[in-house]
């Protein structure tokens, strides 16, 4: 049992720290949920990519550095500690890219990944539909066979940042006669500016307009943009949701940095007599450490060839509730100023409110934990 970093990991840390110290913008970028912020974040992705820091764990041929998970964790610690901007390419990098590594063709990887790494193409996830949220397999958007490809029709919704993104990936019903809802689905990539696509932005809880719903009317997708076998979409999509819930979506480095900022706020604003608030600050410090160590264990298990599996549901519930508690504590420390809607804590708070919903609601995650990790019987669904 060992928690020390290797010499190469430490060297990697030093290199990342040095680069970030010189390049992280002195002023925070505008929110990436707005048009101006989106453009600024895209430019930041390009700058990261030019120095090959945008996707460190990818193979070098696609713009990465080919390093393992432990290095990625080190990079993330430095990245967030340096106060660097949020990552606008996240959906593509965390969800589509792992799918393409596992199920895509060499041609798809060569075509899609390099421009994803630079932020030139930003991807949106088009899974949810108005009538298919938690019960995602009940989705009804269609993919109908046509010459050389497929025609997509229907409606997708809650697509993060799709208002400003370039392309999307999603699951569509290609065989309406399949015997079970999970069968007969196909996973495809499509262009958000293709004929037949209408993107309607939806203001989030704080009014920022990056969320969107997508209306699709016979949108043509060539066969080259089908991921894996037609009809296997569910299995392919689910094989990578572990990434979304698990450690890749929220690295411990992010929470370690946030807990540090919270302690700073507590020292500046905290009332020493308020021990209840002090305990919550302590819990934030403890939670970040717990998550870091939990992740270190998970990464070590993955390095021995174990699969992520249902453990990622433990991660997801933990970080989403942790993130919310941390931000609520910050607002309480801010007192009356907590109501002000500009500023990093306010924006972080609004974002944290969504954590228990997206990437599979925490109710659904708890079902997975109970059934797959504890072996409890299936209930009504």
């Amino acid at each position: 049992m060992d928690l020390s970093y290797t010499r190469t990991e430490e060297a990697f840390r030093a290199e990342a720290r040095e680069w970030l110290r010189e390049h992280v913008p002195a002023e925070p970028l505008p929110s990436l949920e707005t048009a101006a912020g989106f453009a600024a974040h895209r430019a930041w992705e390009a700058e990261l990519a030019a120095a090959r820091w945008s996707v460190v764990s990818w193979p070098e041929e696609y713009g990465g550095r080919g390093v393992d998970l432990a290095h990625w964790l080190v990079f993330e610690e430095e990245y967030w500690a340096a106060g660097a901007p949020g990552r606008v390419s996240q959906n593509g990098v965390q969800l589509l890219a792992p799918t393409l590594f596992d199920h895509g063709t060499a041609e798809q990887r060569a075509r899609v990944l390099p421009s994803m790494a630079t932020g030139e193409t930003v991807w949106a996830q088009a899974w949810s539909e108005p009538e298919a949220g938690s019960d995602l397999a009940s989705l009804t958007s269609r993919a109908v066979r046509t010459d050389g490809g497929w025609l997509l029709s229907g409606q997708k919704t809650w697509s993060s940042r799709a208002a400003f993104a370039d392309r999307a990936f999603g699951i569509f019903r290609s065989d309406p006669d399949a015997d079970r809802p999970h069968r007969g689905l196909t996973y495809l990539m499509f262009d958000l500016r293709a004929p037949g696509v209408t993107v309607r932005p939806i203001g989030r809880l704080d009014g920022k307009p990056a969320f969107a719903e997508l209306f699709l009317d016979e949108v043509f997708v060539p066969d080259a943009d089908v991921i894996g076998e037609p009809g296997q979409g569910w299995r392919i999509a689910m094989s990578t949701t572990g990434n979304e819930r698990g450690l890749m979506l929220r690295s411990p480095g992010r929470f370690l940095a946030a807990a540090d900022r919270l302690v700073g706020l507590w020292r500046a604003e905290g009332d020493p007599a308020d021990s209840a608030l002090r305990d919550r600050v302590a819990d934030a410090v403890i939670g970040a450490r717990a998550y870091q160590l939990f992740t270190a264990g998970a990464a070590a298990r993955l390095a021995t060839g174990a699969a992520a599996g249902a453990d990622s549901s433990l991660n997801k519930v933990f970080w989403s509730e942790y993130d919310l508690a941390l931000h609520e504590t910050a607002l309480d420390l801010l007192g009356p100023d907590g109501e002000l809607a500009d500023g990093a804590w306010a924006e972080g708070y609004v974002f944290s409110l969504a954590g228990p919903l997206y990437a599979g609601t925490n109710e659904i995650q708890r079902d997975i934990i109970a059934e797959r990790l504890l072996g409890l019987p299936k209930g009504r669904r």
């Binding site: 432990a70 450490r289 990464a299 409890l376």
Partner: protein, 339 residues
Amino acid sequence: MGFLPTDEQRAFARSLDAMLTASDTPAAIRAWAGGEPGPGRALWGRLAEAGVFALAVPEAYEGMGPLPVELAHAFVELGRHAVPGPVVETVATAVLLGELARLGEPGPAKRLLPGLAAGEWTATLAAPATRAARHPVPYALDADRADAVLVVRGEELWRAPGHGPVRVSADPARRLARPAPGGELLAEGPAVAAAAAAARRWAMLATAAQSLGVGLALLDRSVAYARQRTQFGAPIGSFQAVKHRLADTLLALEFARPLLFGAAVALADGRAPDGDLAAAKVTAGEAGYGAARTALQVHGAVGYTEELDLSLWLRKARPLRDAWGAPAACRAAVLAPYA
């Protein structure tokens, strides 16, 4: 970086588990609580034989230690089997004496440590649980059963001549008494305070591990019961309210585990990570206690009875949560470096 138990550590935990499973610990706990310490002492001898106490005793005094990571593994198993007796206090005594020797006072270590490592005799220790403890000298656990009652008072280490009246704990297998004043002064000076601080860290680690083990055992039993108990024509474990509570219990335990082993690794590296130990202690204590609350709820009224062995674990969880560092003191310790 490889934050996983080694094969040897896993095998050690498995062999302890097998030994304790074969030992009928519920009978030993009931006897210990009921005034018959024989089976508990026999259990004690087997733990010593397995090397549990030697893990905290330096090699110079016939131990194998200090090995905090292995000790954490061992105490998770002690918790899973709800082993009674001042096991944590014995470890703390061993660390205290070993540390005193390292700081230039080898007398007490020479006299007491080899027998303690071998399980020939047992000790209990009354020392302040945290720097900011409100009660300068707490109760000594099982003072009536231990061969030596050691007390830290400021910069003095005493071997008490006996103890006051035995008081009832919420966990009947924990017997509490104040050490009697006077006795033999074993050592004095700043080294005593430093050694007591080291003892406190190990006691926090071992108690946290025990809490985690108690919680894991409670969860296991609750899951087994929820799968088998039916109401409304279905196993209660198929009801979402039950499922989610059990899922949350697992979540809390699984995020306490890395803190525990992270603190043990830090201790093994020779750092003095008070904050890490306090974080492990409060998190494992709360997780173990949360598991007890869940276990009681899931079992219904039968869980509320003394007859069911579940009660042996249920009643342990809260005292362990508060022993050697109550939650608020631990949280304060976590923030102390930032003050």
